[in-house]
Amino acid sequence: MSSSATKISDLIGREYKEGFVTEIEADTLPPGLDEGVIRKLSAKKNEPEFMLDWRLDAFRRWQGMNEPAWAHVDYAPIDFQGISYYSAPRSQADGPQSLDEVDPKLLETYNKLGIPLEEQKFLAGVAVDAVFDSVSVATTFKSKLAEAGVIFCPFSEAVQEHPELVSRYLGTVVPTGDNFYAALNSAVFSDGSFVYIPKGVRCPMELSTYFRINALNTGQFERTLIIADEDSYVSYLEGCTAPMRDENQLHAAVVELVAMKGAQIKYSTVQNWYPGDEEGRGGIYNFVTKRGACRGDDAKISWTQVETGSAITWKYPSVLLEGDRSSGEFYSVALTNNCQQADTGTKMVHIGRETSSTIISKGISAGRGQNAYRGLVKVLKGAENARNYSQCDSLLMGNRCGAHTFPYLEVRNPTAIVEHEASTSKIGEDQLFYCRQRGLSEEDAVSMIVNGFCKEVFKELPMEFAVEAQALLGISLEGAVG
């Protein structure tokens, strides 16, 4: 089974062997980063003055910063001057022309995940006709959203159409100088999603980048801003379970969530970018800053993530619990196989009274994978009766992988109750034996046990996503056993 897994990766990774794709097309800026590049970038996107100032401010801060080195990951230094920071959407001509040209193993993976044929073409990078099923689907969705007053559009469109909302909220959760990668993102971000849910509106459907076809090629520096006004609700899905074709090695996205009084935001991620080959060559560096702020009382932000891809994942979706009785949740499954490295976790900052947070993190390490949970629970002085419960479980498969837990608990209020629990174990021989005895193959048995281990997180995912995530986990673990 391991050989097939390799072939899949080989195929997806074909483009990565030589590093970044740097062929210069007509509408691409040459590699390198300076103020001129940012001005050009901003001009090309026809941005208003405040955006340019904001980008330049971020760039100046970034210049004074050093790359963080504290994470439990190991990689060769990145040449930030070797990246092209603006590239017009790629032409599809250089992709495969039909599904027949795509590796059958990749198609097999798609079939296992139950992905429809048209979408398979799309994911494999096959040039598709202008008439594409999902486009019409997207249009239907758009009219439904407009009816409810929900704004859901590419970030660049929001800058043009709703500059007042963008300027009011952009950078208020993740400031430009927050960290090295957030600063870089702020300076050069290409595009992303913008969501605004008006007061009292329950978003009529789950919003998904998957359907936001027109802004697909958002590139490596994605920026997402979601604002849920008072008493509104939104569920947002990011990513998809199928392995995506992607040309950029460094991904430094920023996601900002703002939940006003009584609002709820549920943000779900499934990340399955190219993890590199078995020896750890290539693969995406996923350095993401995600943070939500519960601005008003009784607000709630919930992060759910399934991280199976990327060579390196460096990601800490956080919640600032500012409003009284606001609550934050973090549910995570992170899987590292082969040479993948993940340093992921969350930060829960309790500021308001009676705030609560829950952290459930499940880490699975196989092959030579290194999986670290790093979390911070901080209770400030005014956070009366704050409550936190954290649970971090690790599952180890094979004796060359590693599982690490680095929780930080900082408590400055005596009425707070903070609990952290962590355990590390392997799949029991007796559990495996039990399943094998009942006729399950070893691989199915492992997949079943692992899915059971992750159940607490999967049940937080929207239904279709959860089913796909389970299948994905099984596929990602192929070759890890035996």
Binding site: A403, E410, V411, P414
Partner: protein, 443 residues
Amino acid sequence: MSQAVSTAEDYLAAQRLANLPAVGTAWLDIRRNQARSLLEGVGLPTPRQEDWKYTNIRPITRSTFDPVSGSSGWNDQDFLESIQLPGLNSYRLVFADGILVRELSSCDGLPAGVTIASVAEILRADSAKLENLLGSALPTSPHGFTAMNSSFIADGAYLDIGPGIVLDKPVELVFICACAGEDRLGMPRNLIVGRPGSHASVIERYLSVVEARSLTNAVSEVILEEDAQLTHQRITDESSRSFHVGGLFARLGGDSRLDACSITLGGSLVRNDVLVNLDASGATVDLAGLYLARGRCHIDNHTHVVHNSPSARSRELYKGILNDRSRAVFHGRITVQAGAQQTDSEQNNQNLLLSREAEVDTKPQLEIYADDVKCSHGATVGQLDEMAVLYLRSRGIGESQARGILTHAFAGEILERIELDNLRLHLDHCVSHRLSSVERVVS
């Protein structure tokens, strides 16, 4: 605004001038020099270093302490009697600012095969004995204070428990600081060796003779060979103007066992580092700790257990009670190296916050590179169970007394592990005295 701040250079300069024992002994000179360059390289710790994130040593660097490398002549029999543990019969060494006070020490009736001596004396008389032992249990990259201690090595206790010997009485090491006035720096360097099959119990006590500003930078190394057993108790109860940086660094051989209990009751800024390397299969370590922080005191416990071999076992429980404006830090790290299969490891840290101004920062960490292991850790921060308080109150016990009883019971889980009755009773008394009444934290 610029205030004088003492730096590593000040202590390096003092080291050059100090009259240290056995200078000229080749191996010792090399080690002292290595430690000097280490200190030169890393400097004194700053909060920028991850291991010192929550502990700022500024209160220490505000003064420059004078390292003590020879006897000051301090010899206060009355003080010693005042701090004696009632009913405890022990072999005893007393150190003033880190230097042995022979007149106050007594090791009569020591069985053959056991050495209890001053490190300085052994270094002068027979330094070769310590060549392969001294420094062998230290961390590979020690922090500035440990390096500073290694660059001096003026005195300390040397214990060697011979093969198969079960020591009849505990060994009591009393370290008294502030004997020679303000701003002294005592740097005891202790070495405890348990030969195969030996059993011993050691009590390290750190006390102040007067309320004076002082710094103690103590390092104890423990080396346990096969089947050896050591019970190690460390009690820090210095004055509220004392700074204390202590280290317990141990390496454990096959089937050996270390029970180490650290009780911190007083001091202005206390930092304890513990490193235990489980080097062979069957080794067991049980770490326990209790810290009682009051006033503006800052207590930092850093522990690191490294499983280097298969089938070793580690247990750890640290408990803290914080009052007033105190702050406590706990950092517990467990590393399971590749190949250390069948590791069984548990770690727990529990904290009770009794005041609105207190703060606790805890960081339990697991780093695991083997798959057939059983590891868990936990950390809690909270307050007394109101139901339990109600239970006691409904039986006619006053509120603050009820809280005192419950807080005392919280500490009891650590205290009851101490096997020496006299010591346990003494500590229990100290704790209950300090917790006689606990007020409710009103929100």
